[in-house]
Symmetry: C2
């Protein structure tokens, strides 16, 4: 089933301890789309400026991602983000954010996308996320992600959003920040009680936790020795997860758990190179092969 | 099969954000024994001073732990440790260590224990751990644990020890410290190449990773909302793991993975109260029940 994502397209500058890469293809909606697209048709809605390289557009199209909802605003610049990772790549510091055209962006969904059954509200303020949600007609499943800044700056709007989404995805530090609870199991349970049917806490290299009314579980990350750039791991996780749900057209508990696993595997590929470069060479069959290994790893 | 553990018995003072508890029953060999004892007969070798409360001895005996190798040295005091946890209980700071009688302890194994087939070298300097190993005759499986201080202070001795053990258990931060590698997958592989047949990296609330020549895997921690005091989780993990291996009398890959899971579950109980108090009320059947849930959690 078709899946709509609204979020950022970005030009990222990434510094690791060994390398700096400039103006890479990035952004929450890009990582999400590239991962989700293995499973389901993806419609991407977002905005870029004049500096957006045409090859990025071509790449997204070559993946079969529908970009009819992508605005290119003349006389503006694309959202830019610059970050620096610690040597172990487990932590990062944002060095610079330039919202540029994204700063005043208020997404208007093309008529054709308003009945999309699956919606992912990627990086954006809760106000913008709610504005997108208001344009939709009868979506079957809506998942939103949290961003640290908006938990601080738009807490009330975020609490309003949580009443209206089915699933909510956030990082461990965001979960602690939002709940005020340092035990992640308790934090996840508390956040679920704020409205969503299920909550996912992303733990980076340690995997992800799932909370619904009836279930609490954790799945580990797929262990990889080849971590090059963790940027986009969280959005790739969400993309793999929601892409699989859209493919299955279901969100039964068993499907949700499989979707969590696909999300984890999508992220495990993304971190193995800069930008979405690793995904350029990955086929669905590679994901399935890793899934076999992952299932075997968790069987005893 | 019988299992011998040599390590510390301690009186711990634990400060959490809500409570301070004084002179609790603690120490690596105590936590290990209480967890291992669900699975196999355990012989504990260690040393205490005059201040060791007789009820602690009685408790260990009541669990069926053989303490014929426990030295009580008149005119001395027991090893004491004082620590303070951060509010989320995920980090701690050692406030005070008094080695006391343990500082000059050189374990002499009773003749009857020298042919014990399974040996765990708990908290102790590599020099002392090697001295214990030298007293053994033909053990089937030897596992040692690392302690941060000794990685710094006795690195050469530790490297010698690694050549002589089958398994080596250490925390994530110790693995990074020992290997100089911040990616835990790489770190584990590097440490295994230093000698042991397998290496286990304990990740606390995030579970544990396993490395052998043919396998790398990670199992998540059992998610519990009721973390009261994480002290001893690592030694309980080692106890559950090695106790199960001794019970099975085998260390096949499949048995090792089951043992990892039992270790994780033993730790999940230990953290639910101060000292070994939670284990006082836990039966083997409780562990098996949690194992069923844990297997179900990892099945999709």
């Amino acid at each position: 089933m078709p899946l709509l994502v609204v979020g950022t397209l970005a030009l990222d500058t990434i510094q690791t301890s060994t390398e700096t890469r400039d103006s890479l293809l990035g952004g929450s909606a890009v990582y999400f789309s590239c991962a989700a697209n293995y499973f389901s048709p993806v419609h991407l809605v977002g905005v870029v400026g004049d500096d957006w390289p045409p090859e990025h557009t071509q790449f997204l199209e070559s993946r079969g991602i529908d970009i009819s909802g992508l605005d290119k605003v003349p006389g503006t610049k694309t959202f830019r983000w610059r970050t620096q990772y610690t040597p172990g790549l487990t932590q990062r510091e944002t060095l610079d954010v330039q919202l540029n055209v994204y700063g005043s962006y208020s997404p208007v969904l093309p008529e054709s996308l308003r009945r999309c059954p699956f919606l992912f509200l990627a990086n954006g303020s809760p106000t913008v996320q709610l504005r997108v949600l208001d344009q939709m007609t009868g979506p079957r499943l809506v998942i939103a992600e949290a961003i640290e800044m908006w938990i601080r700056q738009e807490r009330d709007e975020l609490l309003g959003l949580l009443q209206r989404v089915d699933g909510f995805v956030l990082s461990a530090s965001e979960a602690i920040q939002l709940s005020g609870e340092a035990n992640l199991v308790r934090a996840g349970m508390m956040i679920r009680e704020l409205g969503p049917s299920f909550v996912v806490i992303k733990k980076g290299e340690h995997g992800a936790m799932f909370f619904s009314k009836h279930e609490t579980y954790v799945l580990p990350a797929y262990p990889t020795a080849d971590v090059i750039d963790p940027t986009g791991a969280g959005d790739s996780f969400a993309g793999g997860m929601m892409g699989y749900l859209a493919e299955q057209g279901s969100f039964e508990p068993t499907t949700l758990k499989e979707a969590m696993a696909y999300g984890i595997l999508a992220a495990s590929f993304t971190v193995e190179d800069f930008s979405v470069d690793r995904l350029r060479g990955v086929q669905r069959s590679d994901i399935e092969l890793r899934m076999e290994r992952y299932r075997r790893m968790l069987t005893f």
